[in-house]
Structures are given as structure tokens and as C-alpha cells.
């Protein structure tokens, strides 16, 4: 077997990817993800095996694509499911380790605090401190620059007997220098660090908590002991008071329970679910109805200019949705939009974005406009496949066009197009782009606690829960997404069955 440069190139690529994969292992491990590290090792082992063993030759070709699907489709789905059993939200954003770190880094005021005065020394500044308790305790810094930025600016203090020469900075100027002062850490000769505690005061600060051997956080003031409560996802003291920040923890079926039993979520969920089904079915029906009528017309040989018509009719599908949807949003605008200006001539002034049913009608109109060309194209292809003899026979029997349509075209097209109709239903069921760009789900229901709107689909509802108002509850959004996953999976399986039936 002759080895071409291509072979060596690919082999080199394989070795490089292997090394890159190996480099990830310690990275995962350091990131406190031992499972990922282990998974990576297993994965690399399997890969080496497949790419060296002749028995698995075909899999060498299959692996890249299948891996991509596993990483980019299956893994995010599994991850969504995983998140749905946690309390991941803006209140519980961090992992437990990082939440612990944040608490450990928290500083509280120590025993010493000082009145501060700032003096100018040329274009530099000097800090002067006087203790509250003891008038004789005074400290001063050498002239230094006030720096802003990420790193703290440590300046040493020396004992002083009098205030430094130079002009004290006036209060109004002190405000302007705040950023620099906040960043300044004055270090006492004994080593204690002083930080600005208020506009004209510096105080010693020390860590608020120390980590105990059992994982609890002991307050350095000796009063409180914080224990991590894995159920609530907070550190709590003995009285059950919760301390920010919360951390992610497992809450079991809690989110699903909330969707179905908590009235705040349960009630909008059912309404939105009903509208989602209604929207997806009506939209599929409308686009199919318009699409098939146009397809029949465009397949009619007596008609001229069919090519031009086809192109013009296809246009709405070709224009990117992120352009055409905002165009409609502008045209339908209640006060400034062209549609209401035209309707104004007849004395009408419909509130497309404020009245629930009108908003729903608008969403349907816009999406039908966006979707009919796709159905038209599909139907055109399928109508072409219907044998001509059927129409000739029906013509001899004296049937009219309507009879042809309902007795021949429609029945023969329904079976092959059924899976595509289901796919269209599933697509519109999850048509986040349309809702996000057109109405953002509005007009909002006035009687629900959780923000939800009349045109919200389940996906846009989860989008709002996760990324907009109502506290960025990622876990709850994932729970709803997982429910929708289930529905889509059912549709997909039904679709596959139909698809198979057609094939045979």
C-alpha cells in the first residue's frame, strides 16, 4: 500500500489532536471536574483504539461526525436535563467551592480605625491618619501616586507627630479621588492593613470567616458558625439565616413540581402551552393551505409567467427572518406603523401589540407570510410526482378543477407530506426567533405573578425565565425545556415512523 503525503498529514493531525486532548485532562482536573478528566481519558483511549485497529476501519470515518453530534447536540440536551434538577439561577450562580471562596475573602472591620486626611504634595498625595482612641497615635505616608486599576496599591505608614506640610484636599475634591483611594491599602508598621471604610475613614480589615476542618465557616468575631445547606443552596448560621452568595446544589424534582403545582408557574404554563399548540397547528394549517393552492396554480400549464410568479412568491422565504420580522414589527407599530396609518383612513386603530387576540393574529399573519413559500415548494415537488393519467381520466369523466383538487391532488399529497407537516409543527412549536423579534411574548398577562405574555410560546417563556426578567432562573427554564424536549422527541419518533411507512 502506497502512503501518500496526505496519509502522513492526517497521521500528524491525529497525533496533534491526541496531544491536545491529553493537555485538556489536567486542565479539567484543576477545574474541579474529575469526571470530565476521566471521560476525556476514556474518550482518547477509545479514539486511539479505533484509529489503530483495522477491525474498526469504518468507524474511523464515522467518528468525527458522530462525535460532533454527541458533543454539540446530545451533550447540551443532557446538560439541560442535568441543570433542571439543580437550583442554578442568579441567586445560586456559583459552584460551592467558589461561593466558599467568596465568603472566605469577605473582610470585616478590625479593631483599629482612623480618621483620614489627604494632603497634596506636588502632583502626588500623602495620607495622614489619626486614631480615634488614642490622640498620640498618628501615622503618615510618603508622597505617592493614587492609582486606579485592578491591583491594590500598598503604601507603608510611618509613625508621625504632626500633620504633613501641604494643602489638605477639600471634601469636594475628595469625591473625585475616590477611585484611587478605594484602591489604596495603607500598611501599619506592625503589618496590619487599613482600607478605606468611609469617605474620610480608614479601618483595619480582616477576613470575616475561617474555614474549619469540617467544612463549616467559623466567624472570626467568634459569634457565628456557617454551615452549607445543600437543600437551600446557601450557607446558613444556627438560626437558619442565609448568607449570600448562594451556590448550586441538587434539588431533585423541585423544579418540575413547581411547573405543575406552584400556581405562580402552573397557571401561565397551561395557558402558554395551549397557545403554543394552537399557534403551531394553525400556522401549519395556514401555510399548507396557501402553499398547496399556489402549488396547484403554478403547476397549471395553461398559466403563463409561472417562473416569475414562483420567484416572487418564494421571496418571503429567502429574505432572512431577522430582517423581515422587524420589518413587520415596524409596519404593525400601533402609532408609527404604516399598517395602522392605512387603516386609520377607515377610522380603525387596532392595537396590534396591546390587545392579546390582535397580537396573536398578527403573529399568525407574519409567520404565515414567512412560511407559505416553503410549503408551496414542497407541494410543487410532490404534485409533479402525481401521474398525469389520473387527471386525464378525471377530465374524461367531466370533473372540474375543484373535484380534481379534492379527489386526486389532496389525497395523494397528504401521505408524503405528513412528515413534513409534523416537522413544520415541531419547528413552529419552538419558533423563538419569531416571538423574540416580533412581540417578545407581549402583551403580558396582568394576572400572573411570573412575567408571561399572550403570544409567549413555551420556548420564549423559558427564554424569559432564564435570560430576562424574573430572576434568571436557569434551572426552572431547563425543567420546562426538558418537558418540551419530551414532546419534540415524541413528534420526532412519530415522524420517523411515518417517514419509514412512506419509504416502503
Amino acid at each position: 500500500m502506497r502512503r501518500s503525503p496526505l496519509h502522513y498529514g492526517l497521521a500528524a493531525l491525529g497525533v496533534i489532536s491526541l496531544l491536545a486532548g491529553l493537555a485538556l485532562v489536567p486542565l479539567f482536573y484543576r477545574a474541579h471536574q474529575p469526571l470530565f478528566a476521566l471521560g476525556m481519558v476514556v474518550l482518547l483511549g477509545v479514539a486511539v483504539f479505533i484509529y489503530t485497529s483495522p477491525r474498526f476501519y469504518p468507524y474511523r470515518y464515522v467518528v468525527p461526525g458522530v462525535m460532533a453530534v454527541a458533543v454539540f447536540i446530545v451533550f447540551p440536551m443532557a446538560y439541560t436535563l442535568g441543570i433542571s434538577f439543580t437550583n442554578y439561577s442568579s441567586q445560586h450562580l456559583l459552584s460551592k467551592e467558589r461561593a466558599t471562596d467568596v465568603l472566605l475573602q469577605k473582610q470585616i472591620a478590625g479593631d483599629q480605625s482612623f480618621d483620614m486626611k489627604l494632603y497634596t504634595a506636588g502632583d502626588r498625595y500623602q495620607l495622614f491618619f489619626q486614631s480615634d482612641d488614642d490622640d498620640s497615635k498618628k501615622f503618615v505616608t510618603a508622597p505617592f501616586e493614587l492609582k486606579t486599576g485592578k491591583d491594590e496599591n500598598h503604601v507603608p505608614l510611618t509613625a508621625a507627630t504632626a500633620e504633613p506640610n501641604g494643602q489638605p484636599v477639600l471634601l469636594k475634591d475628595l469625591f473625585k479621588l475616590q477611585a484611587g483611594l478605594k484602591n489604596t491599602v495603607a500598611v501599619l508598621p506592625t503589618g496590619e492593613e487599613l482600607r478605606q471604610s468611609s469617605l474620610r475613614r480608614f479601618a483595619q480589615s480582616k477576613p470575616a470567616y475561617k474555614l474549619a476542618a469540617d467544612g463549616s465557616l467559623v466567624g472570626t468575631d467568634g459569634k457565628s458558625v456557617l454551615k452549607a445547606n445543600m437543600k437551600t443552596g446557601f450557607y446558613e448560621d444556627a438560626q437558619g439565616q442565609q448568607f449570600e452568595p448562594g451556590f448550586r446544589s441538587n434539588v431533585g424534582w423541585n423544579n418540575y413540581w413547581r411547573v405543575f403545582n406552584d400556581p405562580a408557574f402552573h397557571q401561565p404554563f397551561l395557558r402558554i402551552f395551549a397557545w403554543t399548540i394552537g399557534f403551531a397547528s394553525l400556522n401549519t394549517l395556514f401555510t399548507f393551505a396557501i402553499g398547496i393552492i399556489l402549488a396547484v396554480l403554478l403547476n397549471w400549464e395553461a398559466l403563463k409567467f409561472r417562473g416569475t410568479y414562483r420567484m416572487m412568491l418564494f421571496l418571503p422565504y429567502a429574505v432572512p427572518a431577522f430582517i423581515s420580522i422587524p420589518v413587520f414589527k415596524g409596519l404593525f407599530n400601533e402609532n408609527l406603523g404604516e399598517i395602522n396609518m392605512a387603516l386609520g383612513l377607515f377610522g380603525l386603530h387596532p392595537g396590534w401589540f396591546s390587545e392579546p387576540n390582535l397580537a396573536r393574529a398578527m403573529v399568525l399573519i407574519v409567520n404565515t407570510w414567512l412560511g407559505y413559500p416553503y410549503m408551496m415548494i414542497l407541494c410543487m415537488g410532490l404534485i409533479k410526482a402525481i401521474p398525469e393519467e389520473l387527471y386525464e381520466a378525471s377530465a374524461l369523466a367531466g370533473a372540474g378543477p375543484l373535484m380534481n383538487f379534492f379527489r386526486i391532488t389532496l389525497p395523494l399529497i397528504l401521505r408524503p407530506i405528513a412528515p413534513l407537516l409534523i416537522a413544520s409543527f415541531a419547528f413552529n412549536f419552538n419558533n423563538l426567533t419569531l416571538i423574540a423579534l416580533l412581540t417578545s411574548g407581549g402583551p403580558d398577562f396582568l394576572d400572573t405573578q411570573v412575567p408571561a405574555g399572550a403570544t409567549d410560546l413555551l420556548v420564549s417563556y423559558t427564554y424569559r425565565i432564564a435570560f430576562q426578567d424574573s430572576g434568571q432562573n436557569y434551572a426552572l427554564a431547563s425543567a420546562i425545556s426538558s418537558i418540551v424536549f419530551l414532546l419534540v422527541a415524541t413528534l420526532a419518533v412519530v415522524n420517523l415512523k411515518l417517514f419509514k411507512v412512506n419509504k416502503n
Binding site: 500500500m1 496526505l6 496519509h7 486542565l27 476501519y57 469504518p58 468507524y59 470515518y61 464515522v62 468525527p64 461526525g65 460532533a68 453530534v69 454539540f72 447536540i73 447540551p76 440536551m77 446538560y79 439541560t80 441543570i83 442554578y88 399556489l294 396554480l297 400549464e301 395553461a302 412568491l313 418564494f314 421571496l315 429574505v319 432572512p320 427572518a321 430582517i323 420589518v327 415596524g330 409596519l331 408609527l336 406603523g337 396609518m341 415548494i377 414542497l378 398525469e388 377530465a395 378543477p401 408524503p416 419552538n430 423563538l432 426567533t433 423579534l437 423559558t462 427564554y463 436557569y474 425545556s481 424536549f485 413528534l491 420526532a492 415522524n495 420517523l496 417517514f499 419509514k500 412512506n502
Partner: protein
């Protein structure tokens, strides 16, 4: 079609023409309107379809140029539109390239080789491509947020992250390419094999050159998909300088700051090339779709 043309047919043809023209007028109306709006001075609605006075102010802004308005004020472009377009092109190009490279060899194996689990894998791919990525938005966001903590260039607000997130289209691409490979006769590769070529050589030197059209089509479709995607981009990108056009264009139409005219010019600027590319490739897309439904 009926062999005998009746007199009534002529009437029907006329009615069909009128109906089609009326319907087209209705559907094309928004496009005409948007052209008119982009040429109208000011950002307010109103006025007729044919503008009274033509002004290119919105076009200048869309192209990143400033202009001086009637009162002598310098009006600067509200958003970096050209930068957004460039961002979109970058992301779409990377994602289309990556997903095409990842799907080619799999499609070849599915079309030409026998191995265990082939049918199951193919069916799973067909099922998986029906799952929309919008359902995994939270996971995508959370994943990249966490990856970004360790690897900043692969976190939130990174074009690499977005391009990778778009790679989920692979399942669909494998099916499309496989369908095409299936339609190419096996004899040529067989001849190459007889002459001593490895399966890999037969694939690279014989089959791939014949499959260039489908590769181009899949690439273009993946590219367009990346250009027009909204949901994933909207959760991964926040920095105004990093936005893609699809999410950036949303910023034009807020009730507080309603830049109707500027939006119109931007929409046409970005819409025409995308629409043109799609019109050219849609033939293959549609044949792929219907072939998928008929042949499997």
C-alpha cells in the same frame, strides 16, 4: 391537464393571474415599503409609498459614514453595522467550515461502508436533527460561561464559542451529503479499488471531486444558517462590538429610540446579498428536502 380546452378555461386563467398578482402585491408590499422608508428623510413613519423627497442619510449611516442634518448637527452612525456584518461573516464561515469537515467522512462511511450499528446511528441522527438548539439555550450558555472561566477566548462574548455552538447542524449535513453520495454510482470507486487504491484514496481522489456541488451547497446552507441565527447568538453575545448582525439589528427598534429609517437601510444592505445567495442555492436545498422525504 385536460386535453380539451373549454371556453371557461380562459376565464379561469385570467382569474388565476389576477389572484396571483394580487397575492404577490400583498406579500411584496413590506419590501417596497422598506425601500421607500430607507430613502425617506428622518426616522418617523408617515408619507406615501413613493417618498416626497429622497435622502441618503440612512444609507450613509448604515455604511458607517456620518452626515450633517438640516440643522447643521453632525449625525454619527448609531451602531457599527459594518462591523456586525463582518462578525456574522466570520462566525458563519468558521462554523460552516468546521461542520462541513466534520460531516464529510461520516457521510462517506454511511453511504459506502457496512458496519455494526449503522442503521441505528443513521436513525438517531435523523431524530437528533429535529431537536432545536433553542431548547438547550440554558445549557449552551452555562457551558460556555464555565469554559470561559478557564479559557477566556472560548467563553461568553466570543465568536469562537458561537461558531462551535452552531456546529450542531452536523446531523443534518451528514444526511444531505450521504443522500448525494448514494446517488453517485459506485463503479468508479470500485475501479480505483481494483487498481490498488485504499478506501481513503478512493474517497479523496474519486468520490470527493464528483461531490463538489453538494459540498458547496451544504457549505452555503451552513453559512446562511450561521448568518441568520438569532437565539443562540442572543444569549452568547452581549458586547455591542461583538454582536452579529442578526442580534444587532434588533437594537434599532426600541420604543424609546425608534430608528426606523436607519433600520430599513441596514436591512436592505444585509438582506440583498443573503437573499440572493439563498435564491441561488434553494434549488438544491429543496431537491434535498424532497429527496429526503421520498427516497430516505
Amino acid at each position: 391537464m385536460p386535453v380539451v380546452l373549454k371556453k371557461s378555461t380562459r376565464w379561469r386563467v385570467l382569474v388565476a393571474h389576477i389572484g396571483l398578482i394580487a397575492f404577490i402585491a400583498l406579500t411584496v408590499f413590506p419590501f417596497l415599503m422598506i425601500i421607500s422608508i430607507s430613502l425617506r428623510p428622518g426616522n418617523f413613519a408617515g408619507g406615501s409609498l413613493i417618498p416626497h423627497s429622497i435622502s441618503f442619510e440612512h444609507w450613509k449611516l448604515a455604511l458607517g459614514m456620518s452626515y450633517v442634518d438640516g440643522d447643521g448637527n453632525l449625525v454619527k452612525p448609531p451602531f457599527p453595522v459594518l462591523l456586525w456584518i463582518w462578525n456574522s461573516v466570520k462566525v458563519a464561515f468558521i462554523s460552516a467550515t468546521v461542520s462541513l469537515v466534520l460531516s464529510i467522512t461520516s457521510a462517506y462511511a454511511f453511504a459506502r461502508m457496512r458496519f455494526k450499528g449503522k442503521g441505528t446511528l443513521l436513525n438517531s441522527l435523523l431524530l437528533l436533527q429535529m431537536f432545536p438548539s433553542v431548547l438547550a439555550l440554558v445549557a449552551i450558555y452555562a457551558l460556555f460561561d464555565r469554559i470561559g472561566y478557564y479559557v477566556p477566548w472560548l467563553g461568553i462574548d466570543s465568536h469562537w464559542s458561537l461558531a462551535l455552538a452552531y456546529t450542531g447542524g452536523v446531523a443534518q449535513h451528514i444526511w444531505l451529503i450521504k443522500g448525494y453520495f448514494d446517488s453517485v454510482p459506485y463503479e468508479l470507486e470500485e475501479a480505483a479499488r481494483v487498481d490498488g487504491a485504499t478506501p481513503f484514496q478512493a474517497f479523496v481522489y474519486v468520490l470527493l471531486p464528483m461531490a463538489v456541488p453538494i459540498l458547496v451547497v451544504v457549505f452555503v446552507l451552513a453559512f446562511l444558517g450561521g448568518m441568520i441565527e438569532y437565539p443562540v447568538a442572543s444569549v452568547l453575545l452581549h458586547d455591542e462590538q461583538k454582536l452579529t448582525l442578526a442580534i444587532g439589528s434588533r437594537l434599532f427598534l426600541f420604543n424609546q429610540r425608534y430608528l426606523w429609517g436607519d433600520f430599513a437601510a441596514t436591512a436592505i444592505l444585509a438582506g440583498i446579498p443573503l437573499t440572493a445567495i439563498f435564491m441561488i442555492t434553494q434549488r438544491w436545498l429543496v431537491s434535498g428536502l424532497t429527496a429526503g422525504s421520498v427516497k430516505g
